[in-house]
Structures are given as C-alpha cells and as structure tokens.
Symmetry: C2
Subunit: 493 residues, 2 copies
Amino acid sequence: MPKELKELTKRAENYSQWFNDLVIKADLAEQSAVRGCMVIKPYGYAIWEKMQQQLDKMFKETGAQNAYFPLLIPKSFLSREAEHVEGFAKECAVVTHYRLKNSDSGAGVVVDPSARLEEELIIRPTSETIIWNTYKNWIKSWRDLPLMCNQWCNVMRWEMRTRPFLRTSEFLWQEGHTAHATKEEAVEEARKMLGVYATFAEKWMAVPVLQGVKSESEKFAGALDTYTIEAMMQDGKALQSGTSHFLGQNFAKSFDVTFLNKENKAEYVWATSWGVSTRLIGALIMTHSDDNGLVLPPKLAPIQVVIIPIAKGEEQLSAITEKLQPVISKLRESGISVKFDDSDNKRPGFKFADYELKGVPVRLVMGGRDLESNTVEIMRRDTLEKETVSLDGIAEHIIQLLDQIQDNIFEKARKYRDERVYECENYEEFKEKVKEGGFFLCHWDGTAETEAKIKEETQATIRCVPFAYEQTEGVDMVSGKPSKYRVIIARSY
Amino acid sequence: MPKELKELTKRAENYSQWFNDLVIKADLAEQSAVRGCMVIKPYGYAIWEKMQQQLDKMFKETGAQNAYFPLLIPKSFLSREAEHVEGFAKECAVVTHYRLKNSDSGAGVVVDPSARLEEELIIRPTSETIIWNTYKNWIKSWRDLPLMCNQWCNVMRWEMRTRPFLRTSEFLWQEGHTAHATKEEAVEEARKMLGVYATFAEKWMAVPVLQGVKSESEKFAGALDTYTIEAMMQDGKALQSGTSHFLGQNFAKSFDVTFLNKENKAEYVWATSWGVSTRLIGALIMTHSDDNGLVLPPKLAPIQVVIIPIAKGEEQLSAITEKLQPVISKLRESGISVKFDDSDNKRPGFKFADYELKGVPVRLVMGGRDLESNTVEIMRRDTLEKETVSLDGIAEHIIQLLDQIQDNIFEKARKYRDERVYECENYEEFKEKVKEGGFFLCHWDGTAETEAKIKEETQATIRCVPFAYEQTEGVDMVSGKPSKYRVIIARSY
C-alpha cells in the first residue's frame, strides 16, 4: 500500500483529522502562506468547475444573468444597513493605502504614508451594499423588475479558526441578488433558489439536505428570513450548505431604491440574495468519502472512469491498448471523462490506491488473461466491488453503473442521515445523545434565551425550522414553556 | 430614431467619446462608486463568458489545468524579485487591518486600530510571487515538470487614469503560470501561448494582430522577454491585447524553486506566465463597431440572431410566430443563440435601433406580407444590407451568413490595419504622420535613449519587434546610428 494511503487517518479514530488529511492527500487544496487562505489545487478546482457549470445552468434557467461588481466596498456603504455592518464588521479586511515605496532607511518596500485613501475600502465579505447602490440607477419603473443578477467571485471574511473548504478567510462563491416589485414575488424567489440548491445537492452532489428557515439569531445580517439547506456529515454534525435570504426592503431603504408601480407611485423594491460556496466541496468530501479516500459522485467527478492496462512487455501493452481504444472512444463520445493510465513509472498497486484515494467512481483493469478472454475487471469505488465482465457492451454497462453509483451513494447518505434524525422531548436525554451527533427535532419556545442556553450547554445550535415536517404544538424541552413548532438542533461545522 | 442612438457620438467627431458612449449605451459596463473600478453589466459579461469558454478550452488543450491561488500577497513576497516590485509598487492596494469597530465618538464604524496586520497584504496585481512560493512545494523532481496552471480571477492595479475595459483598477483576467526543466521548453511555451492568443484574437474576435517581442523598457516587470499581440483600433492606435512572458529563472531563484534533474542534480526551474483580460472586450468594441453601435463577431455575440415579428393584431402575430417556430428550433438545435422578440411595449423601429446598438449579427423581420409570400427580411449588422429571402432553407442560410459575417469583419479590420502599416525612414515624416495613427516599421538603434526621445516627442512607443517581418540592417531614423532590425512604433492605449 502506498505511503500516502497508509497515512490517511481513519474516520473512527479522528474524523476531523481524517478530513484534513484527505484534503491534502487527494490533492484538493493546501494551506497558503496567507493566514486562513487556501490554494485550491487543480484536482480540487476541477470539482468546483463541474459544480459551477451545473449551477450556472440552473441559475440561468430561472432567468438570472451573470454580471460583475467591484471587489472593494466603501466603508460607508457597509454602514448603511445597521444589522448588516454589525454582522460583518468584525471580519473585514480593510484597504487603507494604494501605493508602496522604497523605504528611506533601506528596509525594502514599505507602505507609502502619503498614499492613504480618503475613505477606507473593504474587501467584499458579500456584495449586497455595492450591488444595491448600483441597482439604484438600474431600477426606475415596474418594467425594470424583476432584476436578477448573479456573480461568481471571491469574498473575504477574516476568520480566526479556519479549515480547508469549510471555513476559510477567502473563499469562492456565487451570490445572486434579485429585485422585485412585491414581497410575495421576493419570498417566492428566495424559496425557489433554495429549491435549486436542494436539487443540486441531492441530484448532483448526492448529498441529502433538509430545507428550512433559520431562527432570528442564526439568520444573515440584514435579512428578514434566511432559508437554508442543512446536510449531515458522517460524524452526525450539520453542515449549512447553502442559504437564500429574503431581505425585505432593508437594502432598498438603505440605498434609496424605489420604482414607479403601475399606478405611477414610488415604492421601495423587495430583495433577495442567495449563495453557495467552495464549502460545497467540504460537504461532498465529508458525506461520501471513506478510509480509503474520496468517494466522488459520478456527476461531479473530474475523472469518471480510469482504465489501467497491466501488460507484460510492449507487445502485450499494444494489444491491450488497441482492444481498449474503441471502449475509450465510445465512453468519451457519450460525454464520459476517461483517463487511460498506461504510465510505466508507477506500479499497478500504487495506481489502484491512488485512484481510490482520488475517488474515481469506476476503474477498469485489463491484463493478459483478460485480453485472451475478451474481458475486463471493473471496480466501483463506492462499494469497492469488483467483477470481471465481457468487453461486449462494456460502454453501456459503465454508463449504467455510473448512474447506479450516483443513486447508491445518495441512498446510503440518506439512510445514514434518516437513522440519525430523532424527535426528542427531554433535555437531559438530548444533552447526552447530542454528543454522538444527529439532528434533533425538538419543540422550542421561540425565545433567544432558550436558544442561547442550549448553545452554551451543548454547543448545539438551532439549524432551522424544517419545511417538510408536520408541525404540532407542544412544550419546550428546556424551558417547559408552550411551543408552536419543532426545530432541528444539532452540532455543526 | 430612439434617443439612445441619437446621442451616440460619431467616431469621426470624437473617437474616444464614441467609445465611452457606446460602452454605456450598449449596456456593457458602467463606472462604479469605487474610483477606477467598473461594474460589468450582464450584456458585457455575457461577451466575457463566451471569451472565457473558448480560451479555457484552448488552454486545456495545451495541457494547462485551472487552480486558484490567494487574492492577498504578503508584502515581503512582492519584494523578493527586484524588478517585479519596482514595476508594481506604485499601484498596489494595501490591506493593513482586519476588523472594523463602532467608533467611541459615535461616528459610525471605523477601522479598529488594534487589528493591525503584522505584515501588510497586497491585493494581487499579478500572482507570480504567491504562485512561485507555492510551486516550491510542488516541484521536487524532473518528473513534476512541466507544471502548467492557469487561474481565472480578479486583479488590482491602482491606476490614476482609467477607461472602461481598457484600463481599470480592478479587472478580470486569466493568468497562466508554467514551470519547465529547460530554457528551451519555457521559451517554446511562452511563444505557444502567444500563438493561442493570436489564434483566439483572429478566429474568434475577428481582430487581426501582429505578434512580436517587447523592447527592454516595455516588458513585464521580472521577465526576460515579453511577447505581445498588438491590434490596431479604428483611430490607428495600437492596443496591446495579450502578453506572454519568458521569466527565465528569476522567480525560481527568488523563491528557491529547484528540481532534481535526470542526473539527480538540483537546478533552478524555468518559468513563463501569460495573460489576457477584460481589455479584450475593449479591443473587440474598438475594432469593429460603428456609428450605429456595436458590431460583434458572431462567434462571441451573446445573441447571434434576433427575430422580430411585425403583426397587425393577435391573430396575425400567432400565425407569424407559428411560421417562425421551426426556424427558431432548428437554429437553436444548431447551437445558434436566438432571441425572439415579440414584446409589445416597444415599437419595431426602437427594437431595430436597439439591436443594432447591441451589435446582434443577424436580424430577421417577418410581417404580414412575408407571411403570405413565405419570406422573411434578413439584415446583417456588419454591412446593414437587407434582403428578402424565402423561408425554405432559411436556417442553413443564416448559419452560412454568420460565418460570412465573421470572415467579413476580420477581412475589413485586416484591410484597415494593413493600409496603415508603413515603413518609415525619416523622423520628420514620422512625427507628422504618426499623429494620424498607424503602425510604423522603423529601424531602431536598440538604445533606451532613442526610445525615450521618440516617446517624449511623439507620444508613440515601440510596440514590438514583429516576428513576421523579414529584417534587414539599416539606419536608425532618429539617431542615425546603425540598426539591426525594424520595430513597430505607434501611439497606443
């Protein structure tokens, strides 16, 4: 077994370390020289590109268009919406100068004190403010609505404790910002985009998610309502994987964005924003992968099929290659990404472990005996099951298998999640059980006090009020006060 | 004629104002609230997306992979390569703090003085330094080479005089960074990528370019050689549209990046970098567009065909729509982007002018008479020629026409450029003639003094030593000294 693989921590030993190891060993990302910022390596970035392609298509189908707004936001803009600045002030990277110069004392280049900005600029932690300042000029009449822009970009939130993909100071994301004539339309848009995220998570990432609405204390700074998709990792913790916000008229009022309605009266515009980030890669890794390495859903795997010939000598290699060529062609014609690895500087055993580590969904191996018998050995990464099959109809077989793997890892993750969703009525029992992870459906009295107490005593937070749950009235397990609905409580990333 | 169009400045009146007007009126971009930074509007961004798609494909065909490196660069990194920091120090946006706080005096949020960074961070003006610091850990042996990464990202160069697309403080670009075992391989890579840019410019943008190598004073800060593609705008000025740099071992030495060669000896790695930016959109606009608005090459036009029905009443509109539906389907199946505009809140005349302004290559109009005669009026944007043709075979006709337009605008631009490339031997004649624009092929003695004199006296600069020119020895027109080759001298953006 190659060294890289041997050194991968087992999930059962230390789940957190397993994740960190895997990110490095599977060549997804690494820490950079800048505190809290990662380098996304080509293999990790290839997953992000596949995600972007699909999401971008889905956004455009809803009528959203891409645009690009400035990286830097004047400090005064951020301050206009009171809750917004309160939420982001503590993690803002601030640009104060626009020039370096040679130091007079010969100490190399230094900041030029004479090049101080009149007003400091903030690297965007999110772009509501600069975008709504722009929308002011784009929106005059009801005819200009709805306005739906999205941008793919980098954002910066100065985090003190970072982890690759899950929480980094700089991250890549998309942020959609839409403007509507009515409250109803804006709420519908925010919920529609949450649905797009949920569909993407389940159908492409094979990650089951629960949709719901955040509590007051967990919502986005400046939103009236934050909708969320919550996934469960293999340690039973929740990972917030995407959010969509109904912003009401907050930003329209802060930036004075009104439109003339059909009766020719000025009204403030209604807003939403919605985003997913490179955090999705963290969700992907932590949901499916195992002690052998990554398990990638076929729909997002940069390499879907790897083919490894095992030959004795050049002649046999040529014969095997020739035999496989039509299979490779056929798969590629069907849009399948295939890697044919006949490199001779690595042993087959190393290759096997390496492609397992990298989560390639299907592996084909052809040796001398297969050549004679017109067969190939096929292994699926999700179950590690091997079988020897005929080369006749192999392409169709693989295409079906990729679908099966996609379905299987989703079902496996869903089963895992469903077995760990508990209705819970007793706080003592909750406190004990929450240590093992899981989603707890508990009655809540709706107060911030109870929420804070749970967080302090158990490190668990209210993830959301789930949409798909038949609510009945009950009693808060902590305060004993009456409760109108249950929330999902869990420890989270 | 709609107001927007009437207000477009004529090129002959004021070419510079025409460009600024057109960027705004065609909805490509606008100035943002942040000095020197633009908002790229959806229509402008759609052109950039088309460019990205094609370039990304071409890069990947050369073996480059995408990755992502941090936005922020430690100041000390920038200083390691002496020429590099010298070139960029004067335009660096500097992050000095990582937190805001509420002011004690109630003046809103202010920078928190206790959150000062130990070392200032620079928003990347280009990423050689952070990337070579990363490559140090990726490159150990000749087996790790070549290493070829590209990133699509934003960069920041604090410019004092900005113009949309041509020169903005923040811009979007791609930057490729490659590492090689030998000098020859690195030079070959740098020239290959210049070739990719030239092919893209000519085949996709329909912009003819001259390839060449920059003079010492015009090359990239930190490069040994900078290769460039230079295009000519309609005022005869040059626009540097893409550059590719042979960096020698400069960055490898600054960041101590060595590899063990096949003889197991440590050697410094050889480097290239290459980039094109949203400036390409400026080149596109200024090469083809006219006094009626944009002229877009079909291969990069967000909308390739617009179809406008002109009906008397709902019934006729239905009949026309039904008649056109198979044409629309067929075009879309062929991958043509079609907009069917049956909106009833704008007059046909307004629509005509608006799609002309936006540079849609082909316009179809169908009215009541066309319905009877099974015809359609077709207009091509490049020549504004109209003809009435039969609906039979119309899709094939349009597909051919799009190709013709692509070829025609390239040929037109090439003819324009070729007519303005002059061999010039006399400095007095040059000084007079250069005011009118054009590329001047002049002998140069190779000294910085002569170069500076020309720049000071005529505002023209040496654009490059062109590759595709049969060089002979001669006499420098300024100094009278002997010259080994001719350079292209021109005023430029």
